[in-house]
Amino acid sequence: MTTAAATGSGGSLGRIGAMLLRYLYLLRSSWPRALELMYWPTLQMVIWGFMSQFLYVNSNYVFRAFGVLLAAVMLWDVLFRGQLGLSISFLEEMWARHLGHLFVTPLRPFEWVAALLSMSLVRVVIGVVPAALLAIVLYHYSIFSLGLPLIAFFVVLLAMGWALGLAICGMILRHGMGAESLAWLAVFTLSPVSAVYYPVTILPHWLQYVAWALPSTYVFEGMRAVLFQHLFRGDYLATAALLDLILLALGSSVFFLALRGARRRGALLQMGE
């Protein structure tokens, strides 16, 4: 009988680490891809930095808090990159038609998801931190001056990005690669109603109900409260966290149900480009 080469050790953390390593290897295998992670957040920051300099002398809104637009664009990238980072790692498996191999190993779906979330965090940090540091050099504005609330904003937006990412991956599992474009487009439908660059009161009254159903709106309103009134809105944070939990539960349900559906349809061996 076989000697079973010391299998079964390492447990969940070992398997999560294995999948994280896979995505890090992928990132390392292509420096243009790694550079691209930084490119868009930095470019956005540069554009909104110049816009802020212009509006600082032409707009009372920006004059009151120079960093309001720069902080907004960088925080929005946390949400966007958080969702995209998860979806791209997921899509790597689809493009490689790799699910058939992965799911005959002891890897459990929740371990795979944990690895996807971890990689999303890595991609967000690689994308957003250089832009934040460059903003200090170019515009003498540091998003870190938001202080501890920045950590809360970061966590809420990242968790929302993960919830959206899981739901999108679930849709791709359910509908195949035809739904791939959701990974790039879906989050932008939330941008206008998240009140990223303007107060939520600018929106039509009926649309404000939609806005206040999103965790992101509380973050951007909370960010403006810190910048303009030097006030941390704990009530906003609590509501955003609660909404995040609901969204994460929904996103996870969509993902795990879709994965089970793929096992029922026999799609795990066939799914890919």
Partner: protein, 249 residues
């Protein structure tokens, strides 16, 4: 330790427009090499997918290495493995990176030593640092085998193990698998369209047609029963024959 590696009862896989597996039952004892034969669409890949836990059956029971595959697949998965030329390893990762990831997924302790040993065994040492997407068909097969043998599986499922290989490489792979199986006593279940391969490697053959097992026996027993010269002729006879004629045999 249960004497059976695989025990399948009344297995059915029904899709909205077709029945891929139609109430099959079979057992496979430990330590034997068994072939699953059948034409395209006979239900071989569906059966293998269910045995691997990649596909949920509509009904029936599947026990693999003594465990209920539908309820306790995570107890079984560390003890089996799978190789198919139709399911690639990620192309942009090197062979070594791929093997290291799988070694971690299987929780191997001495990963580098295990990979080095398999690389020497399967003659892939020179290509360990080459991206998996830049390998020839023969190299891919040997790398896929290295991945499949990483965890020293008690049960190895193979889908067309020598498809698209030249005769020399195909013979090398068959010899390697024969030696590995003799050394470890593992069970192998393979789907194949290569009848010479099946005659050479397998002591037991399950013949599938239209989702059903229509015959079973050793290659020689099947050849004798059907009065044919070789297994290929038996295969053609079964595949081309209509079902009532088969049932009458």
């Amino acid at each position: 330790m249960p004497a059976l590696a695989i025990e399948v009862k009344n297995l059915v896989k029904r899709y909205p427009n077709a029945v891929a597996v139609d109430g099959i039952s079979f057992t496979i004892p430990r330590g034997v090499v068994t072939a699953l034969l059948g034409g395209n669409g006979a239900g071989k890949t569906t059966t293998l997918s269910i045995l691997l836990g990649l596909l949920l059956p509509s009904s029936g029971s599947v026990r693999v290495l003594g465990e209920d595959m539908l309820r306790h697949r995570y107890r079984v998965l560390p003890r089996l493995n799978f190789s198919s030329p139709f399911v690639d390893l990620p192309h942009r990762l090197t062979v070594r990176q791929n093997l290291l990831i799988y070694a971690r997924l299987y929780g191997l302790r001495d990963r580098k030593e295990r990979i080095a040993a398999l690389a020497a065994d399967l003659q892939i040492g020179a290509i360990l640092d080459r991206p998996a997407g830049r390998l020839s068909a023969g190299q891919k097969t040997r790398v896929a085998l290295a991945k499949a043998l990483l965890n020293d599986p008690e049960l190895l499922l193979l889908d067309e193990p020598t498809a698209s290989l030249d005769p020399d490489t195909g013979d090398w792979v068959r010899s390697y698998l024969e030696a590995w199986q003799a050394r470890t006593g593992a069970t192998i279940l393979m789907a194949s369209h290569n009848m010479a391969e099946v005659e050479r490697m397998c002591s037991d053959v399950l013949m599938m047609k239209a989702g059903k097992i229509v015959d079973r026996g050793s290659p020689q027993a099947l050849i004798d029963r059907f009065g044919r010269a070789n297994l290929e002729e038996v295969f053609l006879h079964i595949v081309r024959k209509r079902e009532p004629e088969l049932e009458a045999m």
